[in-house]
Symmetry: C2
Subunit: 316 residues, 2 copies
């Protein structure tokens, strides 16, 4: 489901880092060369390139990229080149520094990654910031958002497919009671959403829908302007239908007056190697317009080229 395209024969990490060094050398930077390499290597390959570059030139490749590139192109290359767990740790830390209740990045990291990937983010956070992700979440976030985000970000959900239908029915009922009673911050509701496996939750939400006649996310829209309700819906969407969640983020980032490059860059760099194909199918279904064409209309220059390379434009 990845849109990443790799060349048939992959140069060695040393060859790649030599080419990158050439792209930086002399007057001007050879952006096309950078794109042709970095946008077509998977995370393991990029890691080896970073190591080879550091060994050969004594400099961090990410630092060199920062020096040579600028604005949206710099950002997309930087985020993409990072190891995925490191990237999420950086996104989480940036988010916490300018925390506001409409921010959904922590929910994406907590709910749209595998349990082990989320654990690797927490490890990367330790290494980079000399503290834990949860202590920063706990210190920066307050109220209902803290009640929800802390258990989400510290979760290590079971990932098997086993489902307990009796439990699903009981917990669908609990969720319905709390939502009907408008106690959306009830600890039982939060407990269910933050500890059960995704397979189990899926069964619970399905039962909710068939038993009570409305999808849970529709019932969580009673006040469309309530940021906390929107966070609950985002968490549920990220866990059950991430491609629909990310389609919507892309749609809103592109349909705006003025593109939201921040969101566009984040979604493309974090999902290209995961499920971008599904997201693009969903995008086409929802907008009757292909995502790569939307990117072409909305962005320009090297930034556009890099995004198009990541979404596999012209590759099939």
């Amino acid at each position: 489901m990845s849109t990443l395209t790799l060349p048939e024969s992959i140069p060695s990490p040393i060859q790649d880092s030599e080419q990158l060094q050439k792209a930086f050398a002399g007057w001007g930077t050879n952006e096309n060369l950078i794109i042709s390499i970095l946008a077509h290597r998977d995370s393991a390959q990029r890691k080896l390139i970073c190591e080879a570059y550091l060994e050969t030139y004594g400099e961090d490749l990410l630092k060199s990229l920062e020096k040579e590139l600028s604005s949206d192109f710099e950002r997309v290359v930087f985020l993409w080149t990072l190891d995925p767990a490191e990237r999420d740790a950086i996104l989480a830390c940036e988010t916490l520094k300018k925390w506001n209740t409409s921010n959904r990045i922590l929910i994406e990291i907590a709910c749209a990654r595998s349990s082990h990937e989320l654990f690797l983010v927490r490890q990367a956070y330790h290494a980079r910031y000399k503290k834990s992700l949860e202590e920063d979440v706990a210190a920066h976030v307050t109220g209902n958002f803290r009640k929800l985000l802390l258990p989400l970000i510290t979760s290590y959900r079971y990932e098997g497919a086993e489902v307990n239908m009796t439990l699903a029915k009981a917990e669908a009922k609990t969720l319905h009671e709390k939502i009907e009673g408008k106690t959306h911050n009830h600890e039982e509701l939060i407990r269910i959403l933050t500890t059960r496996s995704k397979a189990q939750l899926n069964a619970t939400f399905n039962h909710y829908n068939s038993e009570f006649g409305t999808p849970i996310n529709k019932d969580l829209k009673s006040d469309p302007k309530d940021d906390y309700l929107s966070a609950l819906r985002a968490a549920i969407k990220c866990m059950t239908r991430p491609e629909k969640y990310f389609e919507k983020v892309l749609r809103l980032s592109i349909n705006k007056l003025g593109t939201d490059e921040e969101a566009l860059t984040r979604v493309v760099t974090t999902r290209a190697a995961v499920d971008m194909k599904l997201i693009m199918e969903e995008y086409y279904r929802r907008n009757s317009f292909p995502l790569d064409q939307a990117i072409i209309s909305d962005t320009s220059g090297d930034y556009k080229e890099f995004l198009l390379a990541l979404v596999g434009h012209g590759s099939s």
Copy 2:
């Protein structure tokens, strides 16, 4: 700080498993042979023995031990032979099945292990029980205990030695306010205890003591019969002075009318390879009587011999 003693030359795992098989064969079991092997191998060696035994005899060594041994001796050999993370997962699961508020095992697992060890317990729990540790804690534990135990058991604390003194002072003040106001279940108090690194908490508790004139654990004794307060004290003790915490558990398990074998076995098997030397020093300091002598007076037979082997009796 381990009391584990290994022979100078260690037999191969295949040789060890052959000897164990011999110990089980024929009429009666050769308990001394079992003790001489299993009580003198570290966890990596025991794991290899289990693998060799399974490969050679097509049976799980732990199952064979269960069949051949009984009562307290069976329990100590079983718990000791297990991989440490697996052992903790089993202890946690057993505890949750008969959960009561005076139980401290989950606190020991959450607070007296390293962050990575705790994560390995969560992984072992997935593999063994097809669900997550936190969902079982959340489903079985209620009220203040859930508020405390859920973030404790899902924590992944930073383990570096860095300390922020400004933060330590501010949070010592917060803790003091909440304790003085008897709001021991306040989310700020729980946030501090469950997210900060052990080094940071140590600085906070030191400042608490010097600024307010009493150690925090003394202030948390306002109602000595309150199980929740006792749980808070246990968490703090396990994080800052685990050897003092475990000395007390041993003291109470031995000084009872009738030994508490459950606790004695648990502490010896979980701490022998960690800090049993420190615990024994602390025990001697506190009781003017050596722990191994107390074990000799209080237990008997193969169970006694196994415990003595684990605490390094007669080895120095």
